[in-house]
Structures are given as C-alpha cells and as structure tokens.
Amino acid sequence: MEKRVTFGSWTIGILFAVPQLLLIFTFFYWPAGQAVYWSLTLQQPWGGGNVWVGLDNFRSILSNADYWNSITASLVFAAISTGLAMFVALVLAALTDRQLAGSRFYRVVLIWPYGIAAPALALAFRFILAPEAGFLSVINRMWPGIWDPGLDGADAMASIIVAFSWKYVGYNFIFFLAAFQAIPRSLIEAAAMDGSGVVRRFWDIQFPLITPTIFFLLVINITESFQDSFGIVDIMTSGGPANATNLMVYKIYSDGFKGLDFSGAAAQSIILMVLIIVLTIFQFRFIERRVHYQ
C-alpha cells in the first residue's frame, strides 16, 4: 500500500506546490517559451526589436551543410560514448559484484569522476592526450604524427569521447552495481546448481534481470551526451579541427554567443530539444519492450 499525504483544504496543497512550480516555470517553461519565440523571429544583434520571420530560421539552418555535419557528429558522439561508458561500467560492476580482489576499492573510487566538473576533467584530458607532451606522445615518438587531435578530426572526436565516457563510467557503474546486488544471491546459486557457468549465468540470469537499469542508463546517457558534452568540447577542441567536434550543443553556443546569431541559435536549441524527445520516445517504444520489469 502506498502512503499518501492528503490535505484537508485544496489551497494548502497548492501552496506547498507553488515554490516548485515557480522554479520550473522560471527556469524551464519561460526560457523554453522564449527560445521558441526567438526561433520564429529575427533579433537584431545590438537590440532594437524582433522581426517575425516564421520558419525562415529553420529553413536556413536545415539547408546548411555545416549544421548537418554537426548533427552527424553529435549522433556519432552519442552512440560511441554511451556505448563505451555503459560497456565499461557493466564489466566493472559485474566483476565487483563477484567480489573479486579490489572490488571495495573500485566501489569508492569509481563514483568520483562523476563529481568532477566537465571543464576540469576536460583540461586534465587535454594534458593527458596532448600529442607533444601527454601520455600519448609516446606513440608519436614511435610513429610520428599518428596522434594529433589538433589536426585530425577523428583523433579529436576520440579525445572528447574518452573524456565524456570516463566521467559517465562511474555514474553508470553505481547503478549497475546496485542492480546486480538487487538480484537475489539464491538465483545465481540456483543457476550454478543447474549447471550454468559464470559467463552463461551472466547472460541467462543477471543480464535479463538488469535490463530495466540498462534501459534507464541508455536514456540518461544519450540525453546527457547531447547536453553535458559542452564543457568538454569547449575546453578540449572548441569544436575543431574543421568542425569535426562541433556538436549541436556547442554550435548553439558558438553561433549564438560568438556569432551573435541569437535567432539561429534559438532555432538550433528547438531542433536539439525535438531530437532528444524523439530519441527518447523511440527508446521507450522499441527498446522498452525487451525490458523485463520484475
């Protein structure tokens, strides 16, 4: 039975909800509404009113090859970083759940990266991955010029993917570990008695039982990879080289605040929002069907 608090009078209930409603309105609905308004108008860079232009902003963005390049880069980034962050976290959590040596250490240490601000960790990775002096400079010594995120778009993309995944491995790990630990020990033992080995048990018993968590993390990771990537891109690559890492969220910032195209940036925000909504709906429609909720 769920416990519910009930209030005698309708007004008291509303009064309790008002602070939260105010916050949501001020920081979500109002800016979102403004963005929709801006995206349908043309704003003067130095003020002086808006001119209604209908869908012209969207037309010009969607006919721009740079923008399509940005969407592609974002999708590539989202797919690879989500996959990497979830896979590594899943493996670590599975090992930790088996109480292998060092599992106590992982458990504490792995949540830390999530607590680090994206720009700070980006700066650290910038040093680590620096082609001339970082850890990877060893490779350049052996094969000169093979690694240079400043010149090679693929290297740059790899750098931001690694930095972002590193941050989310810890977050995912905590959820995966909790999910593994929620599986009754006796289920694993029953499977062992049924003749199932470690790997088989993982695929037949543990994996199906943590699908709700996998699904939750998939939605969160993909959404965050579109949004939380800004700080990493800004510090590590600034969208370069040659727009190779100009993710949608970074392009909104650079077009809006550096290019002073507020209206175009607003239209891009709307497109990004719609894209995330569509992706989430897609995940709920097609992936959730394969999830076993207990």
Partner: protein
C-alpha cells in the same frame, strides 16, 4: 543413486567457526533430515555438500568421489531453495527446463521431459506462466520440478517449506515423501521444524552449535535423546527438566524439596544431574496419591484433541499433556504420576545422557 560421506567437515569465516568437524554417512536412497535451531550450521553443511560454500576442513565424498574441489554442476546434486529462487524472467517451462538447456539437450527432447515432470507435479496448465503469477505452493512445485528434471544423484532441500502456510506445508510434506518413495534418490533435507523432520526422515541428524548432537531414526531420537539439547529440542511441548543431586539412595530434586528413591548405580553422591520427563508421559492423578508429585495448576491450554496443563512444582514450571477429559481449574491441586521408565537423565555439566540409573523402586517415593 549415490551415497554421501562426510568426514570431519569444518567451516569457518575468518575467525568464526560455524561447523566444528561433522561426520556423517548417508546411504544411497536414504532420506536424511538435518534438524537444528537457526544458526546451528545445518544450512552451511548442506551448502557445502552442494558446492555453494567452500569447505574449510575435512572431506565430502559423493558416491566415493571426493567433491571438495568440484564446481556445483560437477557434483550431480539438485537443490530446492527456501525462497524457491525461480528465475523471474522465465516461464515455468523455461525454469524447469533451464538445466537441460544449459546441458545442450535438444529442444524437442527438452519439451518432452518438461512435460513429463509437469505432469508428475500437476503443473501442466501453468507452463506458460511467469513465477510472479503463481501461488506459494505452485512456486514450490516448480522449484521441485527444476530439481527433478535433471534426475540428480542427490536432492538437497534447504528449508523448502518454511515459506508456506501451515496447511500447504502439511500437503507438500506428504508430496515430498511420496516423491522420494517413487524416485528413491538420496535426499538431504534441512529444517528447523521438528514435525517436518520427524515425519519426513528415514534418519534424523540433530545439530547444535556447529556439532552433530545425535543421529538416529525419529523414534530413537524421541525415545532415547543423546543429550539434554536433543531432549528439549525434539518434542512439543518441550521435555520437562528438573535439576537434582544424587544422594545416598536416590535423587534430591528441586533443591531438596522433592525426592526420588532409586539405585544410583555408580554415580558418586553429590553428582548434579538433570532429570527429563516428556509432558505426554506424565499422568494426572488426584492430589495426595501415593507415589505422585503434588503440584498447583497454573494454566490450561486447550488443543481440541487434548490439552497442555502447566503446573507449578515448588516454583519450577512443569507441563503435562493429556488427552483425557480433565479440565482442572487454575489454582487447583493435582498429582503427577511418572513411571521410572519414562525418565531420562542427563549430566548437569556436559548435558550428555546418563544410562547409569536403574529405577529399582517402581514408584518415586516422596
């Protein structure tokens, strides 16, 4: 079909020793019940046989093969867990057939064998359901089916009935018994419920504090308990114990307020003993009857078929079970008549059974 040999098996976690050197031989096809209070190490022993728990010392052999280092799947045991441990994401048929699937049995044969097991356990109409949609008794049967389908050498039961309600428990108990009679597989059944233990066991192993207290048939355990622990643990209501001291020609009980005259056959005067009498071995007589102990009624518990009468014997609580139609009022006086052959004696120090007493005087004199 397989015998199990357990030799000096020990289990400890870090510094804490749970099982202190258990020796046990289980014959092929035998139904052995391990009975004991919670924390006595009975489940740990079972899990060591299954291979779910590492053996800290000693040796376990199944069918003559030492299995200490073998994985659970290599031991040929099947286990029924207390919480059933059904795979929640699989249907009943998949649950029962999982071990065959792992073993690589072709789907067609698998289906036939699942059907056969389901027929035996009357689960045929439930094969497509998920465990969540089953009742407690049905889940229990699925767990049994999952163990049966592998045709294991040994069945292990870890308190499988303790999550069921009383009525279902009695029913499942007789089903397990019938099943064992048909399959005749070696079975080890762990429980803390003595009624379950008495009714199921060919042979009963009573454990306490990580040690085996007594091994024997249920009748032997009941009639000749090897220790004070076994005496008070088996039987309901529990056996009455009266502390006493050996004197020149008998026993002085309850700090000297009551006496029993009997030959003391070898025990030195002053030895402290505990005398046990089962509540159902005591006869109620009129107060003041010669050779009976007088007591005051405290409380009467009506059981329908009989009643338990709690009496006060010079400050010590004492229970009597009778099926006679007597209903003494609380506060009234009754006489308790005890035959010498129903008395059990245990050492006060070690708790072990003493066989030295011969009741030479048929009636305890007051």
């Amino acid at each position: 079909m397989a015998s199990i040999t357990i030799r000096d098996v020990k289990k400890s976690y870090a510094k804490l020793q749970i099982v202190h050197g258990v020796d046990l031989d289980i014959a092929s096809g035998e139904f052995v019940v391990i009975l004991g209070p919670s924390g006595c190490g009975k489940s740990t022993l079972l899990r060591m046989i299954a291979g779910l728990e590492e053996i800290s010392g000693g040796e376990i052999a199944i069918d003559g093969t030492v299995v200490n280092k073998l994985e659970p799947r290599e031991r040929g045991c099947a286990m029924v867990f207390q919480n059933y441990a059904l795979y929640p994401h699989m249907s009943v048929a998949q649950n029962i057939g999982y071990s065959l699937k792992v073993a690589g049995v072709p789907a067609a044969e698998r289906q036939l064998r699942v059907q056969a097991v389901a027929r035996t356990l009357e689960l045929e109409h439930l094969l497509d359901r998920k465990p969540m949609a089953l009742s407690g008794g049905q889940r229990q049967r699925v767990a049994m089916g999952r163990a049966m389908i592998r045709e294991p050498k040994v069945f292990l039961f870890d308190e499988p009935l303790s999550n069921l309600d009383a009525k279902l428990r009695v029913q499942m108990r007789s089903e397990i018994r019938k099943l064992h009679r048909r399959l005749n597989a070696t079975s080890v059944f762990v429980t803390h419920d003595q009624v379950e233990a008495m009714t199921l066991a060919d042979r009963l192993v009573v454990m306490n504090g990580g040690r085996v207290e007594q091994v024997g048939t249920p009748a032997q355990i009941y009639s000749r308990p090897a220790s004070r622990f076994v005496a008070t643990f088996v039987g309901a209501p529990a056996m009455n114990i009266l502390e006493g001291t050996v004197d020149l020609d008998g026993l002085s009980l309850l700090g000297g307020s009551r006496r029993l005259a009997m030959a003391r056959a070898g025990l030195p005067v002053g030895t402290k003993v505990a005398m046990g009498i089962r509540p159902e071995a005591v006869r109620l007589v009129a107060p003041g009857t010669a050779g009976a102990l007088d007591a005051t009624v405290d409380l009467v518990e009506e059981l329908g078929a009989g009643r338990v009468i709690y009496v006060d014997l010079d400050g010590a609580s004492f229970s009597v079970m009778t099926s006679e139609a007597v209903h003494p009022e609380p506060g009234s006086a009754v006489g308790l008549k005890i035959s010498p052959e129903d008395m059990h004696f245990f050492s006060s120090d070690t708790g072990t059974r003493l066989e030295v007493f011969k009741a030479s005087v048929p009636e305890p004199a007051l």
